[in-house]
């Protein structure tokens, strides 16, 4: 099946290591198979030959197996390691490391050649039907290369971290199997050479996300969260599907290659292209947690924390950004759609940031922060700053992974402490933390780096990427097709200015809530409890190691794409790198507009930095960690704070307005009403009943009286004679 044929021998990458691109996803898939087999074989207890007889002799039941998977991470299990822990710890991260190595080799090979056309490796025919010819094919170009490096790189770090974090979990091999499978699908997503193949990865990562969110499935909330994630994502996938249908019906191909020319058939800014882009964006709102489909992401924190880091921060949720960057040629033809993307991204950024202000669960804060930062990325790709969007995607991957893993090691420490004292308090609530700096100095330091990065304090990574996005928004508001387009009657430049202001506001809020999180977690007095305090300690090296690497990346990641304004290193590395993929689209979006003047740009940067600094200062000035009490003793919040804490009641709104009505209508109207009532009751059983009743009446006429019979006979005679004589 994998009879990879060497494509386009003329391609500069054809003879390099790139021809093994299929090995990239195959490695994690292999890891999945091995780990999955180990997980199953360890868990399985093969049943008796005759299962229906098995009910009676249940004495063979083993209680240990009954509690194979436990409810909440780390509380009630014996700390014995899984019997396959050794081999799993090798295979799980090992395949990732190998994939990362391979990716680096490809990257080097790519750097060595000049490459304008993407490298496409056809593997096999997938769906050859009539004029629809979809192949299983991988496309390696600059964009997918960047994504592959992020996925395998950050992925490797998170896998290594997980070895420590999940060490005592009885589902250890299962965890790594899912994680490997996720990486496989993620690589498929970014490497697929056509939309359907991307869709495979797209849904595949959603599936793994579902499995991992519900990893501790014995708790209903976790299972609910996983299901919610999958279903909400499916709503988005519906958009993705329709976009593909539109694309095929109007353009005739679903391959990236040749999409640019094929799309030229469509009128610029026309309905069709706009619809295609908007439907793609519906897909993005699902996968990348934008308004209105963001609701699953905060709940997704139910999964193990490294999962949140990998899937719900660094990679999967950014797939939407990748999709738009990948489809930049289409989006650049649809200004209205692009404006929508930017606006929705901006609104999401602000909206999520406000909720982040009032969350107590450390992971929820980070979750809303992720939603907010994803909003930034969409602002970037929405305004045609594709490179900036991808750049923010990358820096975000670094610092958000760091934040999540850092919070993971905090939670890990909290758990251990609670476990040691048999306390069942919430290990993720910041009200139960405080002053952890003293116990976990490394984590503390690294998380501060990440916080500064996300807040946009120079020279940390986030500063550069965020600034580039905001700068581009400002520039597009002044010139280019976006500024002249209108969205729902509002001129484009107005929309973009609003987006810009929103961006600044969100930056302010970001600085505030991140600082708040750091203060409540690491500073002030400790609120964990006196007995527990003795057990608080820094995580082992296998967990802090990856943190350090990410810390370095968060600190210096900005160097990968320095603006012209700051000549402290190589200028615009990433921009040049991505030029062959998104260059045309970017140029089209920029229009004839000139660059913003350097002075203006300095002002913009100054404003951004000032806002970040103000935000952090406000947080430091206003928040009083000493006044906090433990979660169990905390009063319920009031007023708008309560609204924020309950996330504007959006979940409740969705439940009342959509979920419950659908269930209610399905039950009472459709099932009991139409199915059982009308179709079955009225027509099926009804007609049977009527026939039966007629039969009963007929048999009553059969009275046993000869006289009656004779009467009926004579009536029949008269009728017949009537019929006969009337025929004349």
């Amino acid at each position: 099946m994998m009879n990879a044929q060497i494509p386009e021998t003329g391609h500069p990458l054809a003879d390099t290591v790139a021809r093994f691109v299929w090995l990239l996803p195959l490695l994690p898939l292999l890891g999945f198979v091995v780990n999955g087999a180990l997980a199953l074989s360890a868990a399985a207890k093969i049943g008796p030959d005759d299962p229906s007889a098995g009910q009676d002799h249940h004495n063979a039941h083993d209680h240990a197996a009954g509690h194979d998977d436990h409810g909440h991470g780390h509380d009630d299990h014996h700390p014995a390691r899984h019997k396959y822990a050794g081999i799993v710890s090798l295979v799980g991260p090992g395949v990732l490391l190998a994939a990362f190595g391979l990716a680096v080799a490809m990257f080097l090979a790519m750097r060595g050649v000049k490459m304008e056309e993407p490298f496409v490796l056809q593997l096999f025919r997938w769906m050859p039907v009539g004029d629809l010819k979809i192949n299983a094919a991988f496309q390696l170009d600059q964009l997918s290369m960047v994504m592959v490096l992020i996925i395998t790189g950050v992925g490797t770090l998170i896998h290594i971290f997980s070895v420590g974090y999940m060490q005592d979990d009885p589902g250890y091999p299962r965890y790594f199997a899912y994680l490997n499978l996720f990486v496989f699908f993620m690589l498929l997503l970014v490497l697929g050479a056509n939309y359907p193949l991307m869709f495979v990865g797209w849904e595949g990562v959603g599936l793994c996300s579902y499995l991992l969110i519900g990893f501790w499935f014995s708790e209903e909330a976790n299972a609910n969260a996983g299901k919610k994630a999958f279903i909400v994502n499916r709503i988005g996938d519906f958009g993705f599907l329709v976009a593909m249908f539109l694309l095929f019906a109007n353009v005739g191909t679903l391959d990236y290659a040749g999409m640019a020319e094929a799309a030229q058939k469509l009128p610029m800014g026309g309905t069709v292209i706009t619809a295609i882009c908007l439907f793609f964006f519906v897909g993005c709102t699902g996968k990348s947690a934008q308004i209105p489909l963001y609701v699953w992401l905060p709940d997704a924190m139910a999964g193990p924390t490294p999962v949140s880091a990998l899937i719900h921060a660094a990679t999967m949720v950014t797939a939407g950004v990748y999709l738009i960057a990948r489809s930049s040629i289409l989006f650049s033809m649809a200004p209205v759609a692009s404006l929508t993307v930017a606006l929705v991204g901006g609104l999401t950024a602000l909206f999520a940031a406000t909720i982040g202000l009032k969350q107590w669960d450390i992971k929820k804060v980070l979750a809303y922060s992720t939603v907010s930062q994803l909003g930034y990325m969409f602002v970037g790709v929405g305004v045609g700053a594709y490179t900036a969007g991808v750049f923010h995607l990358m820096t975000h991957a670094f610092f958000k992974a760091l934040l999540f893993l850092g919070s993971g090691s905090v939670i890990f420490a909290m758990h251990r402490a609670y476990h040691a004292t048999h306390n069942h308090d919430d290990a993720q609530d910041m009200r139960n933390m405080g002053g952890l700096k003293k116990f976990m100095p490394v984590t503390w330091a690294l998380m501060w780096i990440a916080t500064l990065a996300i807040a946009g304090i120079p020279p940390f990574a986030g500063f550069f990427s965020k600034d580039e996005i905001l700068g581009t928004v400002f520039a597009r508001a002044n010139a280019g097709p976006l500024s002249t387009a209108t969205l729902l009657g509002v001129p484009g430049h107005v929309v973009l200015l609003i987006v810009y202001v929103i961006g600044l506001a969100s930056a302010l809020l970001t600085a505030i809530y991140m600082t708040r999180m750091m203060i409540y977690t690491f500073h002030g007095p400790n609120r964990t409890g006196d007995a527990e305090r003795a057990h608080l300690a820094e995580a082992p090296w296998i967990m802090t190691g990856p943190l350090v690497v990410l810390g370095v990346l968060s600190a210096f990641g900005g160097w990968l794409n320095l603006p012209e304004l700051l000549p402290i290193g190589p200028i615009g590395t990433l921009e040049h790198w991505l030029e062959p993929v998104v260059g045309v689209a970017t140029a089209r979006m920029a229009g004839s507009g000139e660059h913003v003047a350097a002075n203006t740009e300095w002002v913009l940067i100054g404003v951004a930095v000032a806002i970040a600094v103000i935000g952090m200062s406000v947080a430091f000035a206003r928040l009083k960690p000493a006044a906090l009490v433990q979660k169990s003793a905390s009063p319920a919040s009031e007023g708008f704070a309560k609204v924020l804490e309950h996330k504007y009641y959006v979940d409740e709104l969705y439940d009342d307005a959509i979920v419950q009505p659908v269930k209610g209508i399905s039950t009472t109207v459709l099932w009991k009403g139409v199915d059982a009532g009308i179709i079955d009751g009225l027509f099926v059983n009804g007609s049977a009943a009527v026939t039966r009743a007629m039969g009963w009446m007929g048999s009553q006429l059969q009275s046993g009286q000869v006289g009656t019979y004779a009467w009926v006979l004579v009536i029949g005679v008269l009728a017949l004679l009537g019929a006969f004589t009337s025929s004349r």
Partner: protein, 527 residues
Amino acid sequence: MNSFLDSIGYNHWILPVLLLLPMAGALVIAALGMSAGKNADSKTPELRRIVLGIFTLEAVLSLGMWWSINVGSADWQASFAVPWIPAWGIQFSLGVDGIAMMLILLTTLLMPLAVLGGWTSIREKVHSYYALLMVLTTGMLGVFMALDLMLFFVMWELMLVPMYLIIGVWGGQRRLYASLKFFLYTMTGSMLMLVGIIYLGTQAADLAGHPSFAYDQILHNAQLSPVAQLWLFGAFALAFAVKVPMFPFHTWLPDAHVEAPTAGSVILAAIMLKMGTFGFLRYALPLFPSAAMDPTVRTLILTLAVVGIVYGALVALVQPDFKKLVAYSSVSHLGFVMLGIFSLTPQSVQGALMVNLSHGVSTGALFLMIGMIYERRHTRLIADYGGIAKVMPVFATLLTVVCLSSIGVPGTNGFIGEFLVLIGSFRSQPMYSVIAATAVIFAAAYLLWALQRIIYNPLTKPENERLQDLNWREIGLLIPLIAAIVWMGVYPAPVLEKTSAAANRLVTHVQQAGNMAGAGMMGEEIK
């Protein structure tokens, strides 16, 4: 492979052998049962092996068709004909095209698994049960093979009685109601088709006035006015619509599915539901193209198909009984098939076939797995489970895979069919396609919710704590299905290529003939 098959004359004998082998098996088993007399049930273990042997032989024999059948040819393949009732123009004539071949393979390959699935659950009157199962197999295969409309109808009806008895004798609590409902519903549908078939036969009569029921003869000779086509189409469509089942003719399905024993549900869902769509493809569309292309008819059927898709999914969502849930999901899935068929584009038709096959595999697997837990817990209510992934990890894993396939997650077979149907139908019927596409959301909702309530969530019921995981037989019979799910999802091209020629011929034939008839009508109006 091909030369070997040629050397044994495979194509000459394969169809009659496949058709009659189960029938012969039924006779042998019935004879065994009679000779064993009152103690027949004590011979069950030996009997099961014989039955499995026959079905396995059948499956192995049928596999050769994958290579031997030239799916590209416009002629019937492996055709076989002997005169049956020459006085009435009736032949015992068999033959297949790519579409029929795939459905035959689905049947022959699923039957051994269905038998294995009910391995220990049938304990009474075992001989009769297996004999009926075999007759049923003959009927199902006959429907796919028949090239004579009378033979087709005979086979079509032949399936009813064994299934009626299988549900009614070995079924659940409300088996009497369900079995009668199943029988009468289906029979009502097919009775008008009987009139239609005979009418067609008399229309296709040769110059001497002898009727003919040969498919090709009717296809080429019957001169039907557009109005007659409409009526005949209606008669055939009703029969097929009940079998599909299309909304609103679907209400027999949940009852039949729920009450049938495992093998019965599997066969019903995986194979018998395919008869209806096969009927549309083989008969209703090609024979009455102008009716099939009639805008009103198409609108009606497409609407019903789409309503069925959404309706089935919504009703499935709130079912407390897992079997019923899957039954309603079948309504939804088969709606996709109908949408694909009546959208009449190469992609949609082939997608419809693919949905057919993958629905057979996935829903078959689902029913098998429901049977497995039912055998352990004797309840199908979702609420009686919960958290059993803890005690039955293998079951939970496999059930998840199967559910995902039924949801249509890419990488599984379910995706390919739905995707092709939707992308194909979007070209000709965009609105219907978009509405139908919402089913991807609902499908995820009802199956994942059910999955959660069965294998996830806390394990609270003490009865469930003692559940035993699957045994090797059960794992073994599910593995081929899982393999098919993955194979058809990852590398469906070989399957698609088997059906492409037949599907394309159908699309062109119906469109051309329909357009010609339409043009003819218009011409008459102008005159």
